[in-house]
């Protein structure tokens, strides 16, 4: 019988092996998928037992905090946003049943204090409860307030303000705003609001035709490629036949042979249309891509996969981005039309790159992570995203952009005593359904930086569905926000 006993034992070893196999499958191999199952509320219930760290503005204003409810094993934390809708974008929300979004989602690990499994074992032995870290952001409360107030007056749209030398996001506002405190009660209602789309962060997800602001990118491509210098003149007639349809200047104005400064100051369509054609698609795309077009901005907001909350800018064919070999109407791309779409964040990055001598820094909302004991455990280390243009090109562009504000189409952006460089944009969007289908609707833009000689802040402001021009609605927002930030320095 001994042989059978040994075989029986071997069989039981196999059975136990199956148990180990199944346990491994559930606890390790399939664990991620199981945790994401909708019927699995365990991760959420556990998450609310951890005191999530606070989110603070640069000046220490508390943007988000967790407050405890109940006691002992019943203890759970609920998120509160003391500033209401002021930081609804880009901070987002985090609730057990409704999930999380934007900054709250991207920085979830730091906020809940998740560490490696080994160090959490140590914590278990020592009996430490898991506690979240605080995050201090770069956001400027005053700038945020001014930007939101201006936007609420101007219309739906967004403002993004970046410190050129570091990529620190000083302000990011999207109108219509929402109050994250209301999310547990009316998430459905907010989601169903397709007219105001308050949950959409227009700064990172609003794709708009950039209009004339894009001429700065075209000019950059011309200077970088050597096709033009600041002195090169191109004849700019009132109208130009391109791909079978005329490309016109405002009021069909004929400028004759002019150079970059004059062309940008007066935003001359026929001049930039021809420049785009001379530069060629390859070079234009190369410059665009160096500025960040055709890629997801490297900002600290959810930017991966289907739940990405950051849109790519570029030339869109339906849902797809076109690439340098696809046929496009280059002259109209050069003046920010065609199927070109850009987010306010993208245009702010263009301004920031030029302001920073051609170097585009990665835009970041967070500044530092502080653990429960008050130690700074991580700090933003500004890094270069790309060398968009040379320092010389940046300087030449700055000079041209200063003309726009001092004597051209963007005079409303001027700040007394501070030189400002910028560019307006007014893209006609007739029949835009989002605007109710009106025939005179524009997408109004202003992007620029100040002070022009020693840039401290680069800003893009964009207003949807307005009958006014960039200089009328967008430039004043730029001015107010820039002034607020410069005064706060």
């Amino acid at each position: 019988m001994n042989r059978q006993i040994v075989k029986l034992f071997a069989f039981i070893v196999v059975l136990f092996g199956v148990l180990v196999g199944f346990t491994s499958y559930w606890s390790v191999f399939d664990a991620k998928a199981l945790k994401e199952k909708e019927v699995n509320r365990r991760p959420l219930l556990e998450a609310q037992q951890i005191r999530r760290g606070r989110i603070l503005a640069a000046d220490g204003t508390v943007i988000a905090k967790s407050i405890g409810k109940g006691k002992g094993a019943e203890k759970r934390y609920v998120r509160r946003y003391p500033e209401g809708s002021l930081f609804g974008h880009p901070i987002g929300y985090s609730f057990v049943s409704q999930g999380d979004s934007e900054f709250e989602r991207f920085h979830n690990e730091e906020l809940v204090g998740e560490e490696s499994e080994f160090s959490s074992i140590l914590d278990q032995i020592l009996g430490h409860a898991q506690e979240g870290n605080d995050i201090v952001t770069n956001l400027d409360t005053e700038a945020q307030r001014v930007a939101l107030a201006d936007l609420e007056e101007a219309g739906f749209g967004a403002v993004v303000a970046i410190e050129p030398s570091t990529g620190e996001i000083k302000a990011m506002v999207s109108n219509a705003p929402y109050d994250p405190n209301r999310v547990p009660y009316e998430l459905k209602k907010l989601n169903l609001n397709t007219i105001e789309t308050p949950l959409l962060n227009r700064a990172t997800q609003g794709l708009y035709p950039p209009g004339s602001t894009f001429k700065v990118v075209t000019a950059a491509a011309g200077l970088e490629s050597g096709v033009i210098t600041p002195e090169t003149t191109i004849n700019a007639p009132g109208s130009l036949e391109v791909e079978g349809t005329p490309l016109q200047n405002d009021f069909n104005e004929d400028f004759g042979p002019i150079s970059l400064d004059t062309a940008l100051t007066n935003s001359v369509n026929t001049w930039f249309g021809q420049l785009g054609q001379q530069v060629g698609q390859d070079q234009l795309f190369e410059t665009m891509e160096k500025f960040g077009f055709n890629s997801t901005p490297a900002i600290d907001l959810p930017n991966q996969g289907p739940e990405s909350e950051v849109a790519q800018s570029g030339i869109y064919e339906e849902e797809h981005l076109l690439h340098r070999n696809d046929p496009v109407d280059l002259a109209r791309v050069a003046i920010g039309q065609e199927r070109l779409l850009a987010t306010p964040l993208q245009m702010a990055e263009v301004a920031a790159a030029i302001a920073n001598g051609g170097k585009l820094m990665k835009p970041q909302i967070w500044n530092r992570v502080i653990d429960p004991d008050g130690r700074v455990v991580d700090k933003l280390d500004p890094s270069v995203y790309s060398e968009a243009v040379s320092a010389q090109t940046a300087e030449e562009l700055t000079t041209a952009m200063e003309g726009v504000v001092s004597e051209g189409t963007g005079t409303n952006a001027a700040i007394s005593g501070v030189p400002v460089a910028g560019k307006t944009g007014t893209a006609e969007t007739p029949g835009n359904e989002a605007c109710g289908g009106g025939e005179n609707e524009n997408q109004a833009w202003f992007m620029g930086f100040a002070p022009a000689d020693e840039p401290k802040i680069a800003i893009a402001a964009s207003v949807e569905c307005t009958e006014q021009f960039g200089n009328d609605v967008a430039a004043p927002i730029f001015r107010d926000v820039a002034e607020t930030i410069l005064n706060g320095e």
């Binding site: 019988m1 029986l8 034992f9 346990t23 945790k35 019927v39 365990r42 278990q124 032995i125």
Partner: protein, 446 residues
């Protein structure tokens, strides 16, 4: 053979350390400070273990030195887990542990000549099956999750299946010891399949019938599976005919299949097993929460006392992991101690199984061999049935995890099981040590 007992004593030290560390972990979690209460618990437990050890030193000096410490490990582990769920349950469990050890001592004391069991095998078998019916008796019977598993007389509740499993193993070991030769020699081939002689087909059918009966009448798929698997294991060891096992398995599955289709309770259990997501808040809740708890454990787990068992803020408290102290205690272990902790638990069961079979290998007479095999097999299979249940290997049933789950009957019955194994072991090792004993053993039909 004091060497064996010394090894046992040494093996008990880690048990006490484990227990103290476990309680310390739970205390640290609950009170945020380490009370000396954990040391008292550890010391108390160790004292009981040492008393048992001294008793074994006197009564069974030659018995296997590892079985008791291994089982004490599981018990200690179970204590900590149960303490962490509910302090009062842990106190109950401690009382059951003491009662279990008393029954253990009585078994060792009075059944020194355990062959006496052979003489009463039919009485034992019938008694074992009769108590199974008790849960269906009005007044004392209890229904849990649709199965009739428990009996409650006054404050005392017990699950007869735990004791029936011992009765059935004793009966089968004795029956097969007597008839195995005939079953091997008398087997014939019918249509290419080796069948046992008809005369012995009857008793086999009876056992099959008994387990089917349990399925329908007691509605206990788990115990039914456990008994029948132990029967097949014994049949195989006794006859060496794998074909008998195959026939038995086919019969069991045909029966189970038939009843799964006709008996709603059995049907539900299978349905939940196959499609738990159909009713995530209803029937599928327990198995899904069991698996979600495991997914949450990962490699190292969340630590002693860290698992979430009740949905916070729910009134009345809603269970996040239902039956955490009994059915799903393994999932709780995975949740708190991770895959590594769970593998440790499975390893202990495997070591006990290995030691149990070692006892069977050493035993010289057929009854001892079969009894040790049967007891070990039924123990291992029980662990498999419930761990397999909560990991969705097989349908989830209400079998306890031996020595770990909360439950008096389980602890007591398993300590009797341990006593029997140690009795067999003591004799086998004594005989192995004495040449005379070995000579005598040659005479018996080993």
């Amino acid at each position: 053979m004091t060497a064996a007992r010394n090894r046992e004593l040494l093996a008990l030290v880690p048990v006490a350390v484990l227990l103290t560390a476990g309680f310390a972990g739970v205390f640290a979690q609950e009170n945020a400070q380490l009370g000396n209460l954990s040391l008292i618990y550890g010391a108390y437990f160790l004292a009981i273990c040492i008393a048992t050890h001294i008793f074994l030193r006197i009564r069974l000096p030659n018995a296997d030195p590892y079985l008791f410490p291994l089982m004490a490990t599981l018990t200690a582990f179970g204590f900590v887990m149960i303490y962490r769920i509910d302090e009062t349950l842990a106190r109950d469990q401690a009382n059951w542990f003491v009662l279990g050890l008393i029954l253990f001592a009585l078994t060792v004391y009075f059944l020194r000549d355990y062959e006496v069991l052979e003489r009463y095998r039919y009485t034992i078998a019938i008694g074992g099956l009769l108590v199974l019916l008790a849960p269906r008796l009005p007044g004392i019977g209890q229904q849990v999750n649709g199965a009739y598993l428990g009996v409650k007389i006054g404050p005392l509740a017990f699950q007869p299946a735990e004791f029936t499993k011992l009765a059935i193993v004793v009966f089968l070991a004795s029956y097969l010891r007597e008839h195995r030769e005939v079953m091997i020699v008398g087997a014939r081939r019918v249509l290419g399949v080796t069948l046992p002689p008809l005369k012995h087909f009857g008793p086999m059918l009876v056992v099959w019938g008994a387990s089917m009966f349990m399925l329908v009448f007691i509605r206990d798929l788990g115990s039914s599976l456990m008994f029948f698997a132990a029967f097949l294991a014994l049949l195989y060891v006794a006859t060496g005919r794998f074909s008998f096992v195959v026939i038995g398995m086919v019969m069991f599955f045909l029966g189970a299949w038939f009843f799964a289709a006709t008996v709603p309770h059995v049907h539900d259990r299978v349905e939940i097993w196959l499609h738990p997501y159909n009713e995530p808040q209803g029937n599928g809740y327990q198995i899904l929460q069991s698996i979600f708890a495991q997914a949450d454990g990962g490699l190292f787990g969340k630590g002693f006392g860290q698992s979430l068992l009740i949905i916070p803020g729910s009134h009345p408290p809603a269970q996040l992991l239902p039956a955490a102290e009994t059915d799903t205690i393994y999932s709780l272990i995975v949740n708190e101690l991770g895959l590594f902790g769970a593998c440790g638990v499975i390893l202990v069961y495997l070591l006990i199984t290995a030691r149990g079979f070692k006892v069977a290998l050493l035993a010289s007479d057929g009854f001892s061999k079969l009894l040790a095999t049967g007891l070990t097999a039924v123990f291992a299979i029980q662990a498999f049935v419930i761990i397999g249940g909560v990991t969705r290997v097989i349908p989830l049933t209400g079998v306890t995890l031996p020595f770990i789950s909360y439950g008096g009957s389980s602890i007591v019955a398993n300590f009797v099981l341990l006593a029997l194994l140690l009795l067999i072991s003591d004799r086998a090792r004594r005989e192995a040590a004495e040449p005379a004993g070995r000579m005598a053993a040659l005479g018996s039909p080993a």
